[in-house]
């Protein structure tokens, strides 16, 4: 059933899952990146749903823009990851603690 409540709950649930995936996860940075992508997905899904629901095009334009931003972001992020891997030889999140306060 594609009613209002279900849509918002699903996107919110996905957002929460990605959030939890973000900071329960201690080891794999790739999982983190993927959760980030999932966040973008839920946000743009929410935008699309809202644009349909409110009968307004701006939400869909935003979701398109978010798509491009997400693509750019993930590419830059992966690039940083690759460079990081080249230097450290590991991509474990736990070991990224050089900038301690």
């Amino acid at each position: 059933m594609l009613n209002q409540t279900n849509c918002i709950s699903i996107s919110f649930l996905l957002f929460l899952i990605s959030l939890i995936g973000m900071f329960i996860n201690q080891k794999n940075i790739l999982v983190m990146l993927m959760s980030l992508e999932m966040m973008f997905l839920t946000v743009s899904f929410n935008f699309i749903f809202s644009s349909v629901y409110l009968d307004d095009i701006i939400g869909q334009i935003f979701s398109l823009l978010i798509l491009t931003v997400a693509a750019a972001e993930s590419s830059i992020g992966l690039a940083i990851l690759v460079i990081y891997y080249r230097i450290r030889g590991t991509i474990t999140v736990e070991l990224m603690s050089l900038t301690k306060g």
């Binding site: 996860n25 050089l98 900038t99």
Partner: protein, 667 residues
């Protein structure tokens, strides 16, 4: 002329103090002697004009403080009381100046010494000529300051420093009380002018101050604070400890401070405030008790002292006790008369002692003197005159005042006067007459007559002092012999109108008549007591009975004499139970616990430490772990959102959240 009396000593002090380097020893000596001598001549003139011809003089110099109803002016009041003091101060001061020329001949700081002596004289003159309490207080404090400078004249000596500080601080206790008295006077009378206060005093005789629900007789309260001021300055029992220690200064200083001027300021204050004191019988009673105890205590301690100057210092203390209890009996004029006479013979004694000390090359211990009569006949005769006057030998100066004080104290025998507590003063006073005679002649015997205890090498240097030192002694000894007889009728004669209005005595407090019609036995009693003292002292010393050995065998007497020679452990007790706890309080409580402890903790040190600790906690939050950062970001976002929501929707109390966040930070 009247203004010059004050201005000259100040001028002399400034010139000799600032220009002493250029003037040199002889220049400063000349200038100071000239200044103080001229002041003396003028004050004798003032005494003639004011005292004898009865022309009261009030001099307005200028306005000082004007604030609301408080208006204080620089003005001088010359009445007979002031003029009596003026003569005492300037005469003694001039003679002391004259004496110190030779006495301080080889001292490198002679101009400084002369300057201090002059400034002392000046402040004393300010004290006695003041017409209001504030100006009097200026003189009072100035005298204390000058005494500090003079006692500390040889400032390289530790003893001199210590005793000067002691003199200043112990005096300061009395000064504080005097200040409270002045404030109270202003509160009650709304004025500090003598003339106004004394005129109004009788109207305030039933005035009560309400304090914490108690009604306190205001005049009694004022005069009790004034009396404690006098206790400090006149070294009555309780605050007497500074006087014997103040002997560390040069001998002329002792003669000036302890014979004539500084210590008499307290008695002068009491006489000056007779219109207020007369209406507070409680304070009069207190004065009798304190004065009598001081007289007795000091003369008892004086017996067992071995220091030449210290014996005389204790005798001063004892004589001041007489003056104070005489004031307590409302006989201010007799007290002033004794002050006048005492100045002459005590200055004589001190200066003679200085002559002796000078002759025996600065030895002060009487046990190391003896048989000086052969070497210093002139000094011996002066000392003998002084001692006989002090012990009240008939027809010498001391007799006329001291015996009259004792006769006054014997009026308790008239039972209709209901002055039973005077018998206490009478008993102690008579006992101290005996003791005074005893120690005066003990001093004479030990110093001059007994066999010598000096080694023979020092005997070669023994010499009589030069004429310039003997001249003041000659003048003072003439004064000690004749002044009492000459001045008796003027000061305490029957119906004398010398003290026109300067001293007020309630008609119900006058005992002159009764004292003149005492029975013969009572009148003879003080003389016989002092004669017994003299005879006993002579007997012990001539027959060479070693009374100390005899005392040594008697446990109780030995203990008592030991106590007396240690000044009844007043100083030790004060040090242990008053000064040491105060110092400890000052260090461990006010300094360590409060200043360096609590205030530092609540102030700069504590706050900086707290900031440091908190910032360390907050810094530790930055673990470097990316997931932790994400957690804080989300937590912050959630907090922010919930704050916004709670302010609009009231669904969540953000204060709870803040507390929660803070707790998280602390963990």
């Amino acid at each position: 002329m009247y203004l010059l009396i004050l201005v000259l000593p100040l001028l002399g002090s400034i010139i000799s103090g600032l220009g002493g380097r250029w003037l040199g020893r002889y220049g400063t000596n000349l200038i100071t002697i000239f200044c103080v001598g001229l002041s003396m001549i003028l004050s004798i003139g003032a005494f003639y004009e004011v005292g004898l011809t009865g022309s009261f003089c009030y001099l307005f110099v200028g306005s000082w403080i004007k604030s609301g109803i408080l208006s204080i002016s620089w003005s001088l009041l010359f009445d007979s009381l002031t003029c009596t003091m003026l003569v005492v101060i300037t005469v003694i001061s001039t003679l002391v100046h004259l004496y110190s020329i030779k006495y301080m001949e080889y001292d490198p700081h002679c101009p400084r010494f002369m300057s201090y002596l002059e400034i002392f004289t000046f402040f004393m003159l300010v004290l006695v000529t003041a017409d209001n309490l504030i100006q009097m207080f200026l003189g009072w404090e100035g005298v204390g300051l000058a005494s500090y400078l003079l006692i500390n004249f040889w400032y390289t000596r530790l003893d001199a420093n210590q005793s000067a500080i002691k003199a200043l601080v112990v005096n300061r206790i009395g000064d504080f009380s005097l200040m409270i008295g002045i404030f109270l006077t202003f509160y009650v009378f709304q004025s500090v002018d003598y003339l106004l206060i004394f005129t109004l005093a009788s109207f305030f005789s039933n005035h009560y101050l309400s304090f914490l629900g108690f009604d306190i007789h205001s005049l009694s309260l004022i005069s009790i604070f004034f009396f404690f001021g006098a206790v400090g300055k006149s070294s009555q029992l309780g605050l007497h400890t500074w006087l014997p220690d103040a002997m560390e200064g040069p001998t002329p200083v002792s003669a000036l401070i302890h014979a004539a001027t500084m210590v008499t300021a307290g008695v002068f204050l009491m006489a000056r405030f007779s219109p207020i004191l007369e209406f507070s019988p409680m304070v009069l009673f207190l004065m009798i008790i304190f004065g009598a105890l001081t007289a007795f205590f000091a003369s008892m301690v004086g017996i067992f002292q071995n220091d030449l100057k210290r014996v005389i210092a204790y005798s001063t203390c004892s004589q001041l006790g007489y003056m104070i209890f005489c004031c307590g009996m409302s006989c201010y004029n007799v007290s002033l008369f004794h002050l006048f006479n005492h100045a002459f013979f005590k200055a004589l004694l001190f200066l003679s002692a200085g002559s002796v000390i000078h002759a025996v090359s600065d030895e002060q211990d009487m046990r190391r003197m003896g048989s000086l009569i052969k070497f210093l006949p002139a000094t011996y005769s002066f000392m003998l005159i002084g001692s006989m006057t002090l012990s009240g030998f008939p027809f010498l100066t001391g007799f006329y005042s001291k015996d009259f004080i004792l006769e006054l104290s014997q009026v308790y025998s008239y039972s209709n006067l209901e002055m039973t507590y005077i018998s206490f003063a009478c008993l102690l006073g008579s006992l101290s007459v005996f003791l005074t005679a005893f120690y005066s002649f003990r001093l004479i015997y030990l110093t001059f007559i007994n066999t010598s205890n000096k080694n023979n090498i020092n005997k070669n240097h023994l010499h009589e002092s030069s004429f310039l030192m003997l001249l003041p002694l000659i003048i003072l000894s003439i004064g000690s012999i004749f002044i009492g007889y000459i001045m008796k009728d003027l000061f305490i004669g029957f119906g004398t109108n010398f003290w026109i209005n300067s001293i007020f005595i309630l008609p119900s407090h006058t005992y002159f008549l009764e004292a003149e019609w005492l029975e013969l036995v009572y009148k003879w009693f003080p003389f016989i007591a002092s004669l017994i003292g003299i005879i006993l002292s002579s007997f012990i010393n001539i027959r060479n009975i070693n009374i100390y050995n005899w005392f040594y065998n008697q446990k109780l007497f030995f203990f008592l004499s030991f106590l007396s020679s240690k000044k009844w452990y007043w100083d030790v007790l004060y040090n242990r139970f008053l000064i040491l706890p105060l110092l400890k309080f000052g260090y461990s409580i006010t300094f360590k616990i409060l200043d360096r402890g609590f205030i530092e903790l609540a102030g700069p040190y504590g706050i900086s430490q707290l900031t440091l600790r908190l910032s360390k906690i907050i810094r530790n939050l930055q673990t470097g772990q990316v997931t932790h950062y994400i957690f804080f970001i989300i937590l912050g976002l959630a907090t922010f959102l919930s704050i916004i929501n709670s302010t609009y929707l009231h669904i969540f109390d953000f204060r709870l959240l803040l507390i929660f966040c803070f707790l998280i930070f602390l963990v």
